[in-house]
């Protein structure tokens, strides 16, 4: 790289960093208004400098012997490792139901074409488990964080969710919060979010020339007829709008692709 180019790159990188810092600060402030920031995974340090992976429960962890940061496993190795991690989880939770959807529906277990191991098509590439058991039985058990909950938890979760949906409700009904330059809000044409059909997404929208997600359509409507500035996909207002719209269609079967 020529020195002059180098300098330009450095200046550019610097201003990008500054810009993103400003963006992040603004973003985080906005997040607090509508949603809280996500917590990060807490991983134990590896003894031998290997990669450490945590399960979705946020607790069960395992070190992958011989895998250094930046390296990648083959599909076979990855399957073997996943099995071990799951076995560890099941050892800790011998009575927990693990629903084997693929095992019951072998056709659905195709590995994606071109993946390292290739598709067996027979559901062999899934992690074995003890099978299904009634979820209701575990509704109020003690001892773990994951899937152990009480009446109080339901109340808290519901209150949290409803608050978020309510924030979306406010935005949906407010030209000002939507940033409309012409005083138009969504409820004017969609009372109770009628005719927004969130259950039909994703679907191909000819005019957008792509398979649209609900948020693409929300943005389309924010631009016109609402005449506001489009929102980033993870903008707290977008998330709240999605929450409100989806909440209005509770109980309607999912029907992706429907027009």
């Amino acid at each position: 790289m020529k020195p002059r180019t180098k300098m330009a790159v450095a200046v550019l990188a610097g201003s990008l960093a500054a810009a993103s810092a400003v963006y992040l600060a603004a973003g985080i402030r906005a997040v607090r208004t509508y949603a809280q920031a996500l917590p990060a995974h807490q991983l134990p340090k590896s003894q031998g400098g290997n990669v450490v992976v945590q399960l979705c429960d946020g607790q069960t962890t395992a070190e992958i012997p011989g895998l250094k940061p930046g390296q990648r496993m083959t599909r076979a190795q990855a399957l073997e490792f996943s099995r071990k991690l799951m076995a560890e989880w099941q050892r800790k939770h011998p009575d927990r139901g693990w629903v084997m959807a693929q095992a019951k529906n072998p056709g659905a277990a195709q590995a994606p074409a071109g993946s390292a191991a290739g598709g067996s098509g027979k559901g062999r590439e899934t992690i074995a488990g003890p099978g299904t058991s009634s979820a209701a039985k575990f509704k109020s058990q003690q001892g773990d964080t994951y899937a152990s909950f009480h009446e109080r938890d339901f109340v808290i979760w519901k209150a949290q969710t409803d608050t978020f949906v309510e924030q979306g409700n406010k935005i949906f009904h407010s030209a000002q919060l939507l940033g409309s330059t012409i005083g138009v809000s969504c409820d004017m044409c969609h009372p109770n979010a009628a005719n927004t059909h969130p259950e039909t997404y994703p679907k191909y929208q000819e005019q957008l020339q792509r398979v649209a997600l609900l948020r693409d359509m929300i943005n389309w409507c924010i631009e016109n007829p609402v005449r506001g500035a489009t929102l980033a996909p993870d903008d707290p207002k977008m998330r709240a709008l999605e929450a409100y719209i989806l909440a209005q269609r509770k109980g309607v079967p999912l029907a992706y692709g429907k027009h």
Binding site: I182, G183, P191, A194, N195, Q207, W220, P225, R227, H259
Partner: protein
Amino acid sequence: MAARHKSIETKYYEDRDCVLRALRNCDRRTFLKISAATMGAVLARGLTPPHTFQLVEIAGAATGPAIGKGFASEGAAGSRPFTFAYISDAHLYERTLNQRFVRAIVKAVDDVNALDPQPDFVLYGGDLAQLGEPSQLETGRRILSGLKARVKMMVGEHDWFLDLGEKWQQLFGPPTYSFDWKGVHVVVLQSVYEKDFWTARKMTPLERMQTVAGLDNALQSRFEVGEKQREWLKNNLAKVSHATPILVFSHSPLYKYYRPWNFWTEDAEQVQAILRPFNKVTVIHGHTHQMLFNQIGNISFYGMLSTAWPWPYAPEGLPKLTVQMNRADPFDQFDGCGDGQATVLAGGTVDKVYNLWDRNPVTVKASYLRSFGKADRPPAPQFASY
């Protein structure tokens, strides 16, 4: 290929020219034949009557006494057929603020001005303004004054609740009135009164207006004609023979469709009771922004389209006789919107044309409603609501 295959437009204009040519010098018998043939061709194509057929209908009212007399002798009450057009629910902001809604009402004005022959009058169905601001009402008045035919004004809640009708009445006069036209008694109502929900909540005029402007809030009360106006209506109709066809223009539907969205008139039953003694009553209403029709006893109800936006069908309460319009395309500003005409037939009943922009117009006949759906059912939509 070009010679043998004609485009839909070509066929349409050929049909039209043919009808017009034939009409120029024909007696009543030929005239009826042509209209029947046009109708037949139209039905065979599975279309709702397009403009060719409307022209024939309208011709009856306006080509002069030769044809007019024939029709008039069929009317029980001696009323003469005529047409009127409607434009409704434009929800205007100032021109500089919202070009979209302005464009839509201007399009409707162009549509109506292009009608040949011209309708006897144009009904404006209410909600001229979005938030009742003087500038919004004045913008609307300027645009409507571009209409060639005379305009009859009706008020909607969006015009009313900022200043409780002050500016609107200053511009257009009293919101309740009646007139007689070609043997039909016409009544225009202010059917969007509400019980005072604002004083106790200490709302500003703008807050009151904005509350009424929203559909899905439970804060406001329901629309009503009110006791005073019902008294007025009783007195107004006292002198009218029960055989005289009655045409009522009302912004709210004058029946109960869906309460949570105020697609509703709280004292609908009382108003209907006042209209019950008359043989033929037609209510034309605004507010609901969709193809909507109903028959309750002797009363036929037709909702008007909006120029600004279509509303979804309510989740319950839709009258059985309503055939839904197609769901609108969100990528087409004009889809699901429109204007329309109505033909008051010789007997005083009313056929109504829903002129849906960018789609085939749909005619809903009085015979469909008055037979409670047994005859002349309009075609089902391709994309119903779900």
